[in-house]
């Protein structure tokens, strides 16, 4: 099981970490909320937690807690520009429905 990022997402993660000045990578988590039941949560990771699984993709480190991984296994994170807005976009093969901007999903 793993998750990955596109080159554009990797470049954005590197940029965000550089602006922040510290951090080893990006933690991707799943929380229960949003219209479709689950929502993605992103945060800077300063160090891996004991329950984290670590993946490297396009040169950046991604951390996912073991409990969240089955719901996002195979997910690819992209950075997309839509009109005047830009942000991370999740392509999650486990999601049966997504909602709005894609931050919420059902499995």
């Amino acid at each position: 099981m793993s998750i990955s990022v596109t080159p554009k997402a990797a470049s954005q993660i590197r940029k965000a970490l550089a602006q922040r000045g510290s951090g080893v990578g990006l933690r991707v988590a799943v929380k229960t909320s949003g219209c479709s039941g689950y929502a993605y949560a992103l945060e800077f990771a300063d160090a891996p937690s004991p329950q984290d699984l670590s993946f490297e993709s396009e040169g950046v480190q991604l951390l996912v807690d073991a409990g969240s991984l089955p719901m996002i296994d195979g997910t690819q994170l992209d950075w997309v520009r839509e009109g005047l807005n830009e942000g991370f976009k999740f392509s999650n093969p486990n999601a049966s429905a997504t909602c709005g901007c894609g931050e919420s999903f059902a499995v």
Binding site: C35, G83, E86, G87, A97, S104
Partner: protein, 140 residues
């Protein structure tokens, strides 16, 4: 902005978290602006116009049908003012809103958020009875 895509047979559609309440349109005090535009919007739009090399462009904000909650917001740059547009100026930038969209945006706060998840224009809308996901869709 993408709309609500319910792709499965599970019936997991995007149900607004609050029922539509049919709130009356707010009325504006004498001399009040129809919308509040934040400093972050002024700063970001100024930067984008400098990148475009065209300081005459306006930020157009519009409302279309769609999204999980029935309506969604759109943002674009426009150099042409239409007959039914209102124009709100704030420092070096100008915002255009057509009359139909204005009905839904009266009294709204326009802001720009730059966060880890992404950078986007957001609308805090007193007319919306519920919003969905990232706030790109709303109902009245």
């Amino acid at each position: 902005m993408s709309s609500c895509q319910s792709q499965g047979q599970s019936g997991a559609s995007c149900t607004p978290s609050l029922p539509a309440s049919g709130l009356p349109m707010p009325t504006l005090a004498e001399g009040a602006e129809p919308m509040q535009i934040s400093d972050a919007v002024v700063s970001k739009v100024s930067q984008m116009l400098a990148e475009e090399g065209d300081p005459a462009l306006c930020l157009r904000i519009f409302v279309t049908g769609g999204g999980c909650s029935g309506f969604q917001y759109g943002f674009a740059f426009d150099d042409a003012r239409k007959d039914d547009d209102i124009r709100v100026e704030r420092g070096p930038i100008a915002v255009l809103v057509d009359a139909m969209s204005l009905q839904y945006l009266m009294g709204a706060q326009i802001d720009y958020e730059d966060k880890l998840e992404g950078a986007r224009f957001v609308i805090r809308n007193p007319n919306a009875s519920s919003t969905c996901g990232c706030g790109s869709s709303f109902s009245v």
